[in-house]
């Protein structure tokens, strides 16, 4: 009996030692969610970073879960409601303020100077604090062919001297009149959803209007439906009414229309640049947005990394993000999937964005012209309202009425949310 008890104690003691030993060595697992399920290249690069990070220290181990982009935001929202958020969250730039406001995200605490060299569009600010950082940014430009512009006597604009609004419009008319193209300009109506506010609101801003009054973030009245906005709407509508741009378009036409030579100019992003480059080589030009008086601007901010407010290991999550922000990883993502690296030093390491690289201009566009979509939780609704207004106006709706309706929707939503934390 005695010996039996002793034996049991001995076994227990050994087990305790074992367990203690394991817990002293075993690093803590941090969960991370990513939006890019299905993209093999993206996955390989990200897993490479995680592997390097796991090997570089012994406190943390990152475990990755991937979601399809289309249902990613809903998954995060559902997880937040259920209290199951991962430690590290991947978040789309314009969505971030909403999640920060809702308390899903905690501000980042990165080593000082980490973000010094970063493109402004890759840094997600809310309430004067950094909540998210991107390894890359995206930019849009007017895709054009040098030979086409020269043959029609159209000036080739530069970053310092973009087309003026009249110049751009005249160029479209000229190109349409050649009869060589189905449409002079393809703004990309097929890409419903976020493309509309991302790609079309910079044109609105160039007219001197905006999506919301950025001095208060409390109303869009007189900004999205003021004179400048109506001027944009009239021009926007006329693009389609004059047959300069395709109104209903399917995704395939959007993808191949410019490359097949059916569209003379195309408003498109850096992610589509390589395919066009393959088709046209040196003849291809990426031109800055036309300047309608308020400057030549494009949208900014892509997917970024943030830390969940409910995470018990925010220090570990921050450590991973700081680790992932190294130039070599920025360059790897850029080379892998064509994105604009977030720092100039990383850009220098890439194939396409290095000085003299084929897509160098996109880095400059991002650096010089990018305007963030309004960093407010109201953006989710602003985007919907603007998308509907842009589509309705293109379809021939009364410009003032369509913009008024968008303003109503936006203002009602802001009011229903007590100002989203703005205006006290």
């Amino acid at each position: 009996m005695q010996s039996k008890i002793r034996f049991v104690f001995a076994v227990l003691a050994v087990m305790l030692v074992l367990v203690g030993g394991i817990s002293a060595q075993e690093p803590t697992t941090l969960s991370m969610w990513y939006h890019g399920a299905g993209n093999e290249v993206e996955r390989t690069i990200l897993l490479g970073i995680i592997e390097d990070f796991n090997a570089s220290q012994s406190d943390w181990v990152i475990s990755l879960e991937e979601f399809p982009q289309i249902s990613y935001n809903e998954s995060v929202t559902a997880a937040a409601v259920a209290g199951n958020l991962p430690d590290i969250i991947d978040v789309d730039g314009p969505v971030m303020p909403g999640w920060a406001w809702a308390g899903y995200l905690a501000p980042l605490s990165l080593p000082e100077g980490t973000l010094d060299n970063f493109l402004p569009g890759a840094i997600g600010m809310w309430d004067d604090q950094v909540y998210s950082v991107g390894l890359w940014d995206a930019a849009v430009a007017v895709f054009a062919r040098r030979s086409v512009l020269e043959a029609n006597g159209i000036r080739i604009p530069t970053l310092d001297e973009p087309w003026t609004g009249e110049e751009f419009d005249a160029a479209l008319v000229t190109l349409q009149e050649t009869g060589e193209f189905e449409y002079a300009f393809d703004p990309g109506m097929a890409w419903t959803g976020e493309w509309y506010p991302y790609a079309f609101s910079p044109l609105l801003q160039s007219f001197g209007a905006d999506l919301i009054d950025r001095s208060t973030y409390l109303t869009a009245e007189n900004v999205l439906n003021g004179e400048a906005a109506v001027a944009w709407g009239e021009w926007w509508q006329s693009l389609f009414a004059r047959g300069l741009a395709p109104l209903t378009q399917d995704g395939a036409d959007r993808d191949t229309g410019f490359i097949d030579g059916r569209y003379a100019l195309q408003w498109n992003g850096n992610w589509a640049a390589l395919a066009a480059l393959e088709a046209f080589g040196d003849d291809l030009l990426f031109l800055p947005a036309p300047d309608f008086g308020g400057g030549s601007t494009i949208g900014a901010a892509s997917w970024q990394f943030g830390v969940s407010a409910s995470s018990e290991h925010q220090d570990g999550a921050n450590a991973f993000i700081a680790f992932a922000l190294q130039d070599e990883y920025l360059a790897a993502f850029s080379n892998g999937i064509g994105l604009i690296p977030a720092t100039s030093t990383a850009a220098a390491m890439t194939e396409n964005y290095a000085p003299g690289g084929a897509l160098e201009i996109f880095f400059e566009l991002s650096l010089q012209q990018a305007v963030l979509r309004p960093p407010t939780p109201a953006y989710a609704n602003i985007a919907l309202a603007f998308e509907k207004a842009a589509a309705d106006i293109a379809n021939g709706a009364d410009v003032q009425d369509a913009l008024d309706e968008a303003v109503d929707t936006i203002d009602a939503d802001i009011e229903a949310n007590n100002g989203y934390g703005f205006g006290g």
């Binding site: 929202t77 989710a380 379809n395 949310n417």
Partner: protein
């Protein structure tokens, strides 16, 4: 006496036992119905009286019926024409009276607090005045009207076409099963896939429909942008919806047809009834319960119009294809306004309930 009591007790015991077994057997279905239908509906009902958001740190508050008044308020308002200093009408280039902008009255105007936030649904001229029908939510009203039109068109067309098809394939011909399969096939395909395919068919430049029409009219008919034109988008959606689900109802009608005893037709034949009379006095009465079933099912499915809109048009162009369900989802998730989406769902529920009750009343057994 005592033996009777025992027998009584025995039957009560058996009955109780049967009761328990009955409930047990119903339990899986009851649990599922409660979890996935009853509780969500009760939650939607409660949310519709609050300001619940999908994402928000603000506490949820009860707001009474505000969500419903924000959707359903209608008002008529007349505006007097602009007069110059002499009291004369100021005319525009076409010689019509001019009016101040409606928005001057409906936004931030302390003189007209009751009009605040209202939008123009439609307007017309009455004398020199301009009369406006104002609504607190024009898009929702469009969605409501569209959905009702959709039901009014779909129910008779889909039900009728399904019956015609059922009569056609209810014949003993060689290879009739082939036709049955062909007509039924669209039902098996997911609506999302069907909608995507029909988007190609309706394509404005080189879609199948335009190509066919061009071919048969020898190019006289210019290509129509079926889904891009506010006038054709909704009818195009309807045609496609009818095509997709007609096979299902055809099968139901077919089952009803095959339940009618052959002897009735023989008897009618002996009485000298012609084909139409056989249909009118034998087939149609025999299909009565089938008819009620088909009617109710199509009505409910038609009210739930969503997938086609989401995939093919997203409510556009110019709100021509908005539907109640699309708006409920759009607001609840996209616009992150759970309370607004819930309020639409509640309205939707009572609308469908109301219509179903009317149908029930109209198709009741009149023998009593």
């Amino acid at each position: 006496m005592s033996s009777l009591n025992t027998a009584d007790r025995l039957t009560t015991g058996v009955k109780q036992h049967e009761n328990i077994v009955g409930w047990l057997m119903a339990a899986p279905a009851l649990v599922l119905l409660t979890v996935f239908l009853i509780i969500p509906f009760l939650m939607a009902f409660i949310f519709s009286f609050t300001n619940q958001r999908l994402i928000s740190p603000n506490p949820t508050q009860f707001v009474g019926t505000r969500n419903f008044t924000d959707l359903l308020t209608l008002r008529v308002f007349s505006i007097d024409p602009i007069l110059d200093e002499n009291g004369e009408l100021v005319l525009d280039d076409a010689g019509n009276p001019t009016y101040p902008r409606l928005r001057e009255f409906t936004r931030n105007n302390p003189d007209y607090p009751e009009l605040d936030g209202l939008q123009e649904l439609t307007s017309w001229s009455s004398g020199n005045q301009r009369v406006f029908l104002l609504s607190s939510d024009v898009v929702f009203i469009r969605a409501l009207i569209n959905t009702i039109i959709f039901v009014l068109v779909i129910v008779p067309c889909q039900g009728g076409l399904a019956l015609v098809l059922a009569l056609l394939i209810n014949q003993k011909l060689r290879g009739i099963n082939l036709f049955r399969t062909i007509f039924f096939m669209p039902v098996v395909v997911s609506m999302v896939v069907v909608a995507l395919l029909w988007r190609f068919i309706y394509d404005g430049d080189n879609g199948l429909l335009n190509t066919l029409l061009g071919f048969f009219t020898f190019g006289a008919l210019q290509p129509v942008d079926w889904l891009g034109d506010p006038y054709t988008a909704f009818p195009a959606l309807m045609v496609m919806s009818i095509w997709q689900a007609v096979g299902f109802h055809m099968v139901i009608w077919l089952a009803g047809l095959q339940n009618i005893p052959e002897s009735l037709y023989e008897a009618a034949g002996l009485d000298g009834a012609n084909t139409w009379q056989k249909f009118r006095f034998v087939t149609w009465p025999g299909l009565r319960s089938t008819m009620i079933f088909v009617l109710v099912i199509i009505t409910m499915q038609a009210f739930g119009l969503f997938t086609q809109v989401d995939v093919m048009t997203r409510g556009g162009p110019l709100d021509a294809t908005q539907s109640i369900m699309y708006q409920a989802v759009q607001r609840g998730y996209q616009a992150q306004d759970i309370s607004g989406g819930s309020a639409i769902s509640v309205i939707f529920f009572f609308l469908v309930l109301f219509v179903s009750m009317i149908q029930r009343y109209l198709t009741r057994e009149k023998s009593a």
